[in-house]
């Protein structure tokens, strides 16, 4: 996985602004960033990714949640979680 892919949601970070807190060294993206610049919690990221699929494609809420959890299970920030 590229260094410029968010460790939390897998989004490619193509510009500095897309990194958490606008910090090019941050390994998480602006979507996965809490207001203080730190990475959001698992539950918050899960909710955000589910909402992304619901809003963009009208995916069923449970189906979106399952897919988001599946995606997150492969990502560095969450793969060792439970």
């Amino acid at each position: 996985m590229s260094d410029n892919t968010c460790i939390s949601c897998g989004m490619p970070m193509r510009t500095d602004e897309e990194h958490g807190g606008g910090d090019a060294n941050a390994t998480h993206c602006h979507h996965c960033s809490a207001p203080d610049g730190t990475m959001k919690s698992y539950d918050d990221v899960l909710a955000g990714m589910s909402r992304f699929m619901i809003d963009s494609q009208g995916v069923d809420a449970d189906a979106a949640r399952k897919m988001a959890a599946g995606m997150m299970a492969k990502l560095p920030a969450w793969k060792d979680r439970g």
């Binding site: 490619p12 992304f52 494609q57």
Partner: protein
């Protein structure tokens, strides 16, 4: 002792072999589809041992996931650029179709074999479509604010477009036997879709 230069060369060789496996996998998946392509055929085409596929990708599923991811990245990178450049919806639709046309056989095989592809690849595909929808939404919102497009939910606008494009791709033998369905019908589909979503005022101009 391994020198720094030798280590770099080995890393480069590893990258080259990985890329060659990806290239051959893309070629075979495009030509023969996923179900009829084995890892042994990919290894043979790349001129490496069968084990090399698993050394570089871990599993066949991971290779399929990587191929789906690469095509998705190529499309979303292009649309991301256009959305950032404040392109028009027509420009975004045309770029989307051009990206598909450049790898139409592979795209069509992913589409028609999707229910049988590994879970990871299927989930990645949904993520890619969501990213495409989101890039489209950026230019759509600007055009809705300007009053040139009818107001409608992002998901319905995207599903209307992708439903149309995917129907033509999945049934290529009906719409463009032995040829590129995007090359033959892309312009018609783009014009039709824009007529559907344009506001009445814009149509009257």
């Amino acid at each position: 002792m391994v020198t720094r230069t030798e280590r770099k060369t080995r890393a480069e060789q590893k990258m080259e072999t990985r890329q060659r496996l990806m290239d051959r996998a893309v070629r075979l998946f495009s030509r023969r589809g996923f179900a009829r392509t084995t890892t042994a055929q990919i290894a043979r085409a790349a001129g490496v041992s069968h084990g090399a596929v698993f050394m570089h990708f871990g599993s066949r599923d991971a290779l399929v996931r990587a191929v789906a991811g690469e095509i998705g990245r190529a499309i979303t990178d292009r649309l991301h650029e256009l959305a950032a450049d404040r392109a028009s919806l027509r420009q975004v639709l045309r770029a989307h179709l051009r990206c598909i046309e450049e790898r139409e056989d592979l795209y069509r095989n992913i589409l028609t074999e999707l229910p049988l592809l590994p879970n990871d690849a299927r989930t990645a595909w949904v993520g890619i479509q969501s990213a495409i929808s989101t890039h489209m939404a950026k230019v759509v919102r600007a055009e809705m604010r300007a009053g040139t497009l009818r107001k409608m939910p992002q998901a319905l606008l995207f599903n209307t477009w992708i439903g149309l494009v995917h129907h033509y791709l999945a049934n290529r033998e009906l719409f463009a036997p032995g040829a590129s369905v995007i090359a033959r019908h892309g312009r018609t589909l783009t014009n039709h879709f824009l007529r559907l979503v344009r506001s009445q005022e814009e149509k009257n101009r």
